[in-house]
Symmetry: C2
Subunit: 526 residues, 2 copies
């Protein structure tokens, strides 16, 4: 493991201040002295990225696909070394991290396939109409092109799938944009190992070196410089609301504003319709006790708000949920900061008028540090409506059950909640067909609407939308998961009256790439 900053797929020489990763389970420092990057290195990384962009954007689709697949192979080749390091840096279990390696590799291969197939550029051709009156129509051909260097911030809660070679990097590289990663300080070694895999892939595939850089920092200076650099064209971030808003502000205050794709979290409401509670209170309680506490609740899709209408059967749900939550073992959180924040916020919320604890798990694993305890609170619909504080996310194994008096109050509650990554409805058979206004309103609040499932678990596919109205994300029109995540890093260009030989292959008359195109209003591969 090389602990130096990576500037244009090349390791910088060791110099200056260094810092280390901490094992959150033990509180002890882990092996490796990672170098804090400096201003000159930011400058060099962006200079190299800008110059690599000219070459990389024109790399043919087969070579780009091979590059993405080679990154995937190099990551796979890291095997247990990578998983073990990620376990020690994140406190997450081995099985989860093995799964996350699979997901990361899967995402890279998904984008490789997308690029290789090629239709994602949305080519549109409107042929010339030289005879048209009163004026002839020119030949116009449009496609998507990459926008330039992208800065990716690694996320704490997915040290692989949303970090150095995660969905942001994979989609940016697939689009034809160079990437500069700001490594997350909570998983420095994991970042170094994955970045090493990308460095290998750059060399093996003969890619321009500036296509990838990664910088370490124990503070915010380097991140700020990266976002403000004039060569940076977009920023991808998954993390807190405060962090996302700070990046948006920086990006908007630049001389040339740039887009920030910040996924800032969500309370992911679950609406339990009455018959669902009436017929399977216990099953639902167990299902949600598991979803709320999965991975110590450290998912942006964690169900933080349970909405139901009061009824005798709801008491059964509450009792079962309380018992199930009480039995959940404590778990190490990702960092001591996240752990402390969880305790502070869940303590603060318990002071709000009308809030009662429905259940708190018993702390076990006493030898380990940063162990969070699952908690579920309960509050009346009226008190929830009166306290905006209760609408805020508490990152961790926490959820709030809101008991509405009736379906009208439930609608009022839904009206007040902010934008969400997900909203879930639990409904028995066709019960939901009686609530068309509810479903219509819910669709305005969220990026993903789930029926009878749990929001944790975000499928990586073309139809996925992982992004919702503000404040869930900075821009509800884009997703950070799934193949359409590539559309964050491109823009359209139209070529008017160009000779066929001078056009990009995607727009040539003969369709040499064999892609789907919209030609004179019809989709075709001709």
């Amino acid at each position: 493991m090389n602990e130096n900053n990576i500037i244009g797929a090349t390791y910088a020489t060791s110099e200056g201040k260094s810092f280390s990763a901490i094992n959150p389970s033990t509180g002890l420092m882990l092996e490796g002295n990672f170098r804090v990057a400096n201003t000159a290195q930011v400058e060099e990384a962006l200079m190299l990225a800008e110059s690599a962009f000219t070459a990389y954007k024109n790399v043919d689709k087969a070579s780009k696909a091979k590059f993405l697949r080679t990154i995937a192979e190099e990551i796979t080749a890291l095997g247990e070394t990578l998983v073990n390091r990620a376990v020690s840096e994140s406190g997450l279990p081995v099985g989860r991290l093995q799964g996350e390696v699979g997901r990361t590799v899967g995402q890279l291969n998904l984008f490789a396939k997308l690029v290789e197939e090629g239709s994602w550029v949305n080519a549109i051709i409107d042929h010339a109409l030289p005879e048209r009156q009163p004026l002839p129509r020119p030949d116009i051909r449009r496609m998507l092109i990459p926008i330039g260097p992208v800065v990716v911030f690694g996320a704490s809660n997915f040290p692989l799938a949303f970090s150095v070679a995660g969905g942001d990097t994979a989609s940016a590289l697939a689009s034809g944009c160079p990437v500069i990663v700001k490594a997350h300080p909570a998983h420095l070694g994991t970042s170094a190992l994955v970045a090493g895999a990308i460095v290998q892939a750059v060399a093996k595939c003969g890619m321009p070196k500036g296509v990838f850089s990664m910088l370490y920092d124990d503070g915010y200076t380097i991140g700020e410089q990266l976002v403000k650099h004039p060569f940076t064209q977009a920023v991808a971030f998954t993390g807190s609301f405060r962090g996302g808003m700070a990046l948006m502000k920086m990006a908007q205050e630049r001389e040339k504003p740039i887009p920030v794709f910040a996924e800032m979290g969500s309370i992911n409401p679950i609406i339990f319709l009455p018959q669902a509670i009436a017929t399977k209170a216990e099953e639902l309680a167990h299902k949600y006790a598991a979803s709320i506490t999965l991975g110590a609740g450290q998912f942006c899709t964690n169900p933080g708000l349970l909405l139901a209408i009061e009824s005798p059967e709801l008491d059964k749900f509450k009792e079962t949920l309380a018992n199930a939550i009480s039995a959940i073992p404590s778990a190490t959180m990702l960092t001591s900061g996240i752990y402390q924040n969880y305790n502070t916020l869940s303590e603060e919320v318990s002071q709000v008028k009308g809030i009662k604890w429905l259940a708190q798990a018993n702390a076990i694993n006493g030898d380990l540090q940063n162990q969070s305890v699952a908690k579920v609170a309960v509050v009346s619909g009226a008190d929830f409506l009166a306290n905006p504080k209760l609408h805020e996310e508490i990152f961790g194994p926490y959820s709030l059950l809101v008991v509405a008096e009736n379906s009208s109050q439930l609608q009022d509650i839904i009206q007040t909640i902010g934008g969400q990554l997900t909203v879930t409805v639990m409904s028995e058979n066709q019960e939901i067909a009686n609530y068309p206004a509810l479903v219509s309103k819910l669709s305005e609040k969220t990026g993903r609407l789930i029926l009878n499932g749990v929001p944790t678990g975000v499928e990586v596919c073309a139809a996925m939308q992982h992004g919702g109205p503000f404040p869930a994300t900075s821009d509800s029109r884009f997703t950070s998961v799934g193949s359409t995540a590539i559309y964050r890093f491109v823009r359209p260009i139209a070529f008017q009256d160009w000779d066929d030989s001078l056009l990009p292959d995607e727009l040539k008359q003969g369709n040499p790439l064999g892609i789907f195109r919209l030609i004179d209003q019809t989709y075709t591969k001709d």
Copy 2:
């Protein structure tokens, strides 16, 4: 012509301050006392829009298409009344405004056809894989949905095609979003007539009334209130850099930031390659003299920057251009403000070091007011590089010829220019094939790249991209002209594991709308 504000397709009762339109050719006040809107009317318009949204977003595609076509028919029915009023308010010639009526009607019909066909929602279906290991895949279906009330600012330079029922309104209504128009104060009567056509169409088609409102203001208060209102979900604007930036700032400082699609102008560089100048200097000079002065130069795609390499043949081009420009008759500008601004800026630029006038037309039409005179200045490449002021747009019949020493300096110049709506290359035969780096760099600077044409004239079709990197527009990922303009007002939503009967028709298994969809990675109408 009813001169009252329109709140939810209903005319408000006359009260409060009123103002009138001015004929820029005569400086005289035109018929009609238009009422300045007030805060309560803004509030009511947005309340009605928000409540109409719930119904309008679910209107079936045939009814929505009929609504758009009916607006087009009602506008057509206004006939000469509309054209004459637009002539008297804009100073533009009859033929131009007849053409603009045609374009406006054509745009409405284009969006009607798009909505009726229905594939624009980009439906994507990934079927469930219940047997998948280690976890089953849920059924996920995604489509685009409208975002809510849109505020449209009418533009001065296209009193029909970029105003009350222009491309912004047509695309927003097509997407399923209600529209609130802030009427442009320079064409109040034109706005009232067109808005009347929309009011008629709302009634004839039985649309929810809140789907359309229009407010008048002689200042900035109403516009600001509209942008800041919490129900407003997006803003569309075509106008000055200052105006666009002010709206962006307001929109970003809201509690919930919203997108602003501001098209803020451009200098639309024309690059004359050496052989083109060598072989057809005179033809090019005439072509560009016409393009620079078309419509008194009041196009966002007006060619404001001509770039060439010095050569003996370039002198021929200069001489012909100078003669052609000198012979261009003066023309009335849209408003006295625009006229004064043109004179001030073109006077200021003439003070910049190294700037010389190549040609100034002789003022004629002395009886008419606000008559602009075409002007072309010339400067060396070195002086252009040294003076950022020369890179700014001067709205009107003005262009600057920059004479580069050699092709290397030409590249330097291109490197320094900002984002553009259009860039044009004039090249003889395959000459441009010798400049691959130039073309690659140009593609990073613009939304539309034209070969051997003029940038004035923006075709309304699916492949058009009218939008370029900042500062040409606030968001290079979207267009304000052509059918893909609809994508400004929508966002994706994913439905996970919903019963077929509860899904929107676009996503139902049987494809009842018969649209193109991406199903399990394949485009199909099945």
